[in-house]
């Protein structure tokens, strides 16, 4: 039986177990003189029975899914004569793949060596056996669990704490999935980066001033070396983010102050959602807005005043990114400003302070930690933003602080390094992982700072 069907079968067993357990508990309760005589409510006994029925079988199924394929292919390979292996460790895997493909009919049997066809049939036979045996075993385990749990139900059985504990473990498991995924991503990026740092020294990467990741396919090609100095990329990222923050922080903060402190309720009811719509626009839309509207406009404007503005300027990308980030800052700041207790405003107004004096001297300082945290989150968002810069800021790794020039960012380079057909062991592609790692570390640090600041803010007011 296929694993999915088996899972459905187990689900049916579990549902049955719940009703069996609850029925048994109800019966016992009736004998003992009402459900108050039970330690736990009948429902808990039902859940307990269901858990005893389902958990071991599901664990068994998971183990089987993980290991059965490896075990079976190892058995098949071991049955082959030793000479079939190509000698190197990869050969065994290739052979196993080939046999599996024959078995599944991906490779036609006709033009394959007879010994492999035989192995493929053996593989199919073993897989079949293993499926039926796991079906039988899992069903047995769940039935045994059901019967065992049912037999244990007595007025004294403490089902409630056990079910409660199982809920805790289930929640813990879900939390672990998120954390382990993060670690998985970190490690995959980390290992690729380490591989990269074997061909390019860390110091050259982090402090190098020239970025041209072209490596030659043949040794005699021109410019075969490639240089991987990431500084221009980080300067570019910094420049675009800085432009974005210059746009987003004042506008976002001011609009938050307006919405939270000055706007009439009816204005606020429309203005706040309208502002948050900005956050819902896909970044790719911002991207072509930047590339096709803002960048040419800036270039023409620059020409009018005698500046030479690149048609893919950091300014255009930064301006549009800033607009994208405005709702982040305004929404978060609006929340913290509204969270400042009214009593502080009253206190200030009662001293004869004007509304603006109250906002500037009392409300904003009180909300400052929260505002700073919002800005930090916005900065990490700006640094990690990809689509806008891919479309609007260009590919030339210029080492410049002039926003009118074309620059490239870390994210843009990662995209260009990894799109298209690439070898996955050249420094060129591995560089993308190293860039990703550094970028990740930077945003991680910013987020940690932001969380710390937010925590301090909470301690102050709760």
């Amino acid at each position: 039986m296929h694993a999915n069907n088996l899972l459905l079968l187990l689900l049916a067993f579990v549902a049955a177990a719940f009703y069996v357990g609850r029925g048994r508990a109800n019966h016992i309760a009736k004998l003992a003189g009402g459900s108050r005589q039970l330690h736990s409510l009948p429902d808990y006994h039902g859940h307990y029975t269901a858990l005893c029925c389902g958990l071991p079988a599901v664990l068994l199924l998971i183990l089987w899914i993980i290991f059965s394929g490896h075990v079976i292919s190892a058995m098949v390979l071991d049955s082959l004569p030793a000479g079939q292996f190509l000698g190197d460790p990869g050969g065994r895997e290739l052979l196993a793949n080939k046999i599996a493909n024959i078995a599944q009919g991906v490779l036609p049997k006709a033009n394959q060596p007879a010994i492999l066809v035989a192995a493929a049939e053996e593989l199919n036979r073993l897989t079949q056996i293993s499926r039926w045996s796991v079906t039988a075993l899992a069903s047995c385990v769940s039935l045994v669990g059901l019967i065992w749990a049912r037999s244990r139900i007595t007025p004294e059985l403490r089902s409630r704490p056990r079910v409660e504990a199982s809920i805790r473990y289930a929640l813990f498991f879900c939390a672990c999935v998120a954390v382990f995924t993060t670690f998985g991503i970190i490690f995959s990026v980390l290992f690729e980066s380490l591989q990269f740092f074997q061909s390019v020294p860390v110091v050259d990467f982090i402090f190098g001033l020239e970025w041209s990741p072209q490596t030659a396919i043949r040794d005699d090609q021109v410019g075969s070396s490639g240089s991987f100095g990431a500084v221009p990329l980080f300067v570019g990222t910094l420049l675009v983010s800085a432009v974005a923050m210059v746009v987003a922080v004042p506008i976002g903060l001011m609009s938050a102050i307006f919405l939270a402190e000055y706007a009439h309720k009816s204005v606020r009811a429309y203005a706040k959602p309208a502002l948050e719509v900005l956050a819902g626009i896909p970044t790719v839309v911002y991207g072509f807005f930047a590339a096709l509207t803002v960048a040419p406009f800036l270039r023409d404007l620059g020409q009018g005043y005698g500046f030479s503005v690149s048609s893919e300027s950091a300014l255009a990308a930064g301006l549009v990114m800033g607009v994208m980030i405005i709702p982040f800052i305004s929404s978060l700041s609006d929340d913290v400003i509204t969270a400042v207790p009214q009593s502080l405003r009253d206190g200030s107004l009662a001293m004869g302070a004007t509304h603006s004096e109250t906002v500037i001297r009392v409300v904003i300082p009180a909300a400052l930690p929260g505002i700073v945290a919002g800005i930090m989150l916005a900065i990490s968002r700006a640094i990690g933003e990809t689509m806008i810069v891919v479309m609007a800021s260009g590919l030339a790794a210029n080492m410049t602080f002039n926003p009118l020039d074309s620059v490239t960012t870390v994210t843009v380079q990662i995209v260009t390094l990894l799109t298209g057909d690439q070898e996955f062991d050249s420094p060129k592609t591995l560089a993308a992982f190293a860039l990703g790692l550094v970028l990740f570390l930077i945003t991680l640090i910013l987020n940690i700072i932001a969380l710390k600041v937010v925590k301090r803010f909470r301690e102050q007011y709760e």
Partner: protein, 294 residues
Amino acid sequence: MNTSATFGVGTPSESDFRDTRGGDMSEIGLTKGHVTVGSVEIQAAKMTARGVNIFYGDKQAIHDVTVDIGKNQVIAMIGPSGCGKSTFLRSLNRMNDTIDGCKIEGDIRIDGEDLYSPKLDVVELRARVGMVFQKPNPFPKSIYDNVAYGPKIHGLAETRVDLDEMVEKSLRRAGLWDEVKDRLFQAGTGLSGGQQQRLCIARAIAVSPEVILMDEPCSALDPIATARIEELIEELSHNFTIAIVTHNMQQAARVSQRTAYFHLGRLIEVNPTEQVFTNPEHSLTESYITGRFG
């Protein structure tokens, strides 16, 4: 609705009258044409209120209140919860302006100047009429900056030395100086509840107001801190005009020279404190102070 007054001076004949709160006024002896008993007017009045009505939206919270607040005197405002005493207090420095839908009718004056005239600068008014709130609300700044806040926004201090002096003087008058002089630059929110409230009083008197309004200043404090604040009110009353709202009748009796009793948005009686607590003129006042309701 054919009920008769169980006590009080009102005439039950106006039994068709209903309070906007939905209570049957005639039952407790209040009538539409109710007139405050006692001595509403006094010789040396700092502030005067004449025929004041206050509305929150359609709901009327204060009905036709007329009372004088005597110079360098403490007037206590007592009454059951929701009787409008805080609302009335807040109208004395226009703090009700910050509440949406709050409307005021009638005439309130300070030294003969109309509080609600368009010519009046509300900032200047609030500098003259300070306020201390129910819950201590120090700003999340240092103790020094809390007290220096008022003088700074009003430009009262020319130099840093002036400012230092003002801060010290205010903290001394609020009886807090000795406790905080070594930690002036620590956060005001780190003080105890009673200290915070005295800090708020110091903050209020730092701008040298003429009137201080106190809205249940001790309700969040323990008895010892309360006693400390009451002493302070007594000392301050030599130089300031004070209006205090309180739920604590002993407190009203201890700190005030005059007492005003509010009931369901109406001012029932204003008399010298001693008389209110020993020989109240109105039967509602008597019922309240003897604990029959409230």
